[in-house]
Amino acid sequence: MKEKLSSLWQKLFGDSVRAFGVVSVMFLASMAIAPAKNFFSEWRHYQHGYLSVIRNRSEANTLQRHFQGGIQQIWLPELGVVDRCTSCHVGQKEASLADVSAQPYRPHPVMPHKSEQFGCTVCHRGQGAATTVEEAHNSTLAWEQPILPAKFIESSCGECHRGPLPGTPQLNEGRRLLAREGCLHCHSVKLPDGTTMKPTDDPPSLSHIADKTTREWIFAWLKDPQAYAGTAIMPNFKLSDDDARDISAFLIANSTPVAGDMLAPSAKASSDPTAGASLYGESFCASCHAVQNAAGNLVGGNVGPELTRIGNKAKPEWLQAWLRNPRVYDVGTAMPHYRFNDAQLATLSGFLEGKSDSDYFANVHLDAATPEQIAHGKRLVSDYGCASCHEIAGFKKPENFAPDLSRIGSKPVTQLIFLPGMQHSLPDYIAGKIKQPRAFAPGLKMPQYTFTPVQVDALTTALLSLNERSYTLPSSLAIPATPESDYQSAGKAGKLMTDLACFSCHRINGRGGDMAPDLTWEGSSVQRDWLVQFFKNPGTLRPALIRRMPRFNFTDAEVAELTDYIMTVYQSPTIDRDSMPLSGYPQGQIELGKQLFYGKYSCQGCHIVDTKTDKGYIGPTLTNVGSRLTAAWIYQWLKNPPALRPGTIEPNRAMSDEDARAITAFLISQKKSGSAPVASRKSAMRNGAPMQEVAKK
């Protein structure tokens, strides 16, 4: 062995000439490593591949001319972007390659931004400067940000766009859920512009809960909120029977009666289910509250809580007091003060009490609470952070109860603990935490939600958009969300509007719900007499809608107050309602308007003027429009509907002044003799019926 080695040594380095020769050869070989590495690099391989893909195509010459060999780079110093992705993704700008499905040669689908302006990694993440697939796409020791899976791509839009976009439904939904499902009560989310994300739900105060419900109900609810109502926002804290018993004991013991004589005795609840159902329908309770029907489907809105088992929850005397005036128990409630009379209160409360499950309390057996149990319950309320969501007498809202999520979208994977079998990536971690929050370690407090897989993806998208890059991008790129205004109507009418919770459904000056029409310019739009009539007896304007204006038992003074305020204050600066007369248009012009209405513009496709011939169901019925709207509003509306109400389905027809004037003349002549409101009250009362009809169609 030794001899062989020494002879080899002799052969190679025996004399100086040999040694010099061998060392030179070795040196040359090592010099060749770098160019060889370059020659055999991945990107060169892909560029060769691209050339052979385009060679036999009809537009090969054009593609060949566009092709640039070598490493390509998009450099945007102000965004911190050095992206060499286009070295391999050569055809990403060639729309004519749409039929090529092999990567990396596919053209990029149509996108809202240009890659020269934003590069690739701003949206897709990954390591832009890398020139191998492994390093560019995956996370390496030196690089924590792998390519973002396509399903979460909208999260990148959220780095700059803080408000909802038509092109990002998943991100919009995720943000909505984050605010609506209670996440933000415990987790705080600060945005790069310094604001904090605000929750949009309104968990009830528990300070007077003994007035409202029983300890048995609290126990059953705590054990499983979704068993009471599938739509319940409150998640399941997976409490043991003992813990639920003690918390319910504490909450009842801690509750104080509402000031005043809220629960004063009133009319005895009547049990006339037919009258109850018709009052429930007539009051349009279903616009906000859902009830499960016999088929198990939820019917109704989601502004207020589901009422399927309200009879198990609410004490009869509380229910009546609440219906009489909800603002006595909860000043800030979204529910209007309906002004029901005693007979109506008795009917409606009796009807709602009937909505109960006879065996809902079958497994609830509670003995009288002991002081130890109450003390333990108090500790649990503090431990679980109940006061993060609910107002509880004697508790302050805990600060930083749960981890801050302001930059969760950039959390390094090395700082995360994964469940066995889980893919080691940030999106999988976030989705996993939302799906099974308690699985990650013993003793975790985050409760169990019941999100669908689609909702989990939406939430993950919204959370991934809260990342480091949203802070480092130039602030000039940020597109802020339109902030919700804190508009408040003034004076006596303002108080009345708060009492009626108008803003729960209507939007005025940038504040309020979107269930009912925006009333910002209502004073320019409608005629005073019609408005008075409408308040007294709201008729049906849009036959296809199931959500409508309820009738409140107004006094004449209240109607006058509201009408005066709306007619004076809610005026459009561009429409002078007295600029066009409400009658006296020449018959010829009215005739021309009629022809245009039915011919050139075919308005009957969406509107009804003549109930015998027209069937249009999309826009409001116009049979009595001459008594409802002002001529000036109709004219301006015809000229450009989206300008008066952004997002309206009615298109801008770019009508000539002459056409618009003629149609205005025709419409303003549509006055029903006798001042009966637009449609009969009866059709509106069959609240349940239209829905069933719809379902059948």
Binding site: A98, D99, S101, R106, P109, V110, M111, P112, P149, A150, K151, F152, I153, P166, G167, P169, Q170, V299, P453, V454, D457, A544, I546, G599, K600, Y601, S602, G605, C606, K615, G616, Y617, I618, N640, P642, G647, I649, P651, N652, R653, A654, M691, V694, A695, K697
Partner: protein, 243 residues
């Protein structure tokens, strides 16, 4: 010496096995029955944005040669890389059905999904279902469709929304009617949308949207119409199928 060799060998084997990657394929359940055919129950021909869940789960049913549902047959799903199923396989339930949530791939286009099972003679029976992944532009188009077009062009009513289709004297075409929609060129479609039906001698009940939607809005809408049509239009993009 021999002892050392054996120990080294054992150690080496242990080292190798511990290094080898854990196989990811979970064990398939053993079928207790076999069917003769797979039929679609619901969930075919849906549209979803690239990379996201289909709005409705996909449900298929296994039948025997007499057409009655078979319980306990093993159904597996496969598709092009990037498409995922939750669960990817399952035994049919008491009504002979298997339901899975489908996530489409990252590329816009049509995806062919294969549901397959084995029959008594261990021969493969399969069902091919097509779903469509919408690009960003097509999603924008869908948004516009939902906002402006759907009320008349879709004859189906929902609880929240009554269709206006039945109220129209001249019936509009559903965007899924490929046989009709595919014959209208992009230029004509764009003209109808911008200038209304009379632009190509169609009903004035179709209003002009050219002052409401921008040119790029209309392009997006057309790209959505092309994606929604059945049979598919030529510009609906490639079909991705299992390799």
């Amino acid at each position: 010496m021999k002892q050392y060799a054996t120990m080294t060998l054992i150690f080496g084997v242990m080292l190798l096995t511990s290094c080898s990657r854990k196989s990811k394929t979970a064990t398939l359940p053993t079928p207790t029955a076999f069917g003769a055919a797979i039929v679609e129950s619901s969930g075919g021909k849906q549209l979803a944005q690239t990379g996201t869940f289909l709005p409705q789960p996909l449900a298929v049913q296994v039948n025997d040669e007499h057409g009655t549902a078979v319980t306990g047959a093993l159904v597996r799903f496969e598709a092009a890389p990037g498409v995922s199923f939750d669960p990817p396989f399952s035994l049919t339930d008491s009504s002979g059905q298997v339901t899975t949530n489908v996530t489409l791939g990252a590329m816009p286009g049509r995806y062919q999904i294969t549901a397959f099972a084995l029959d008594k003679s261990q021969k493969r029976v399969e069902l091919k279902i097509e779903e469509t992944a919408l690009s960003y532009q097509q999603s924008l188009g869908r948004h516009l469709n939902d906002q402006y077009c759907d009320r008349c062009h879709n004859a189906e009513s929902t609880v929240e929304r009554v269709s206006n289709y039945d109220n129209l004297e001249v019936k509009p075409h559903a965007f899924t009617e490929g046989d009709t929609m595919n014959k209208i060129s992009d230029t004509d479609l764009s003209a109808i949308i911008s200038h209304g039906g009379p632009a190509i001698n169609k009903s004035a009940l179709m209003p002009a949207w050219g002052n409401t939607m921008s040119k790029s809005d209309i392009r997006a809408l057309i790209s959505y119409i092309r994606a929604a049509s059945d049979p598919p239009s030529r510009s609906a993009g490639p079909v991705y199928a299992a390799p």
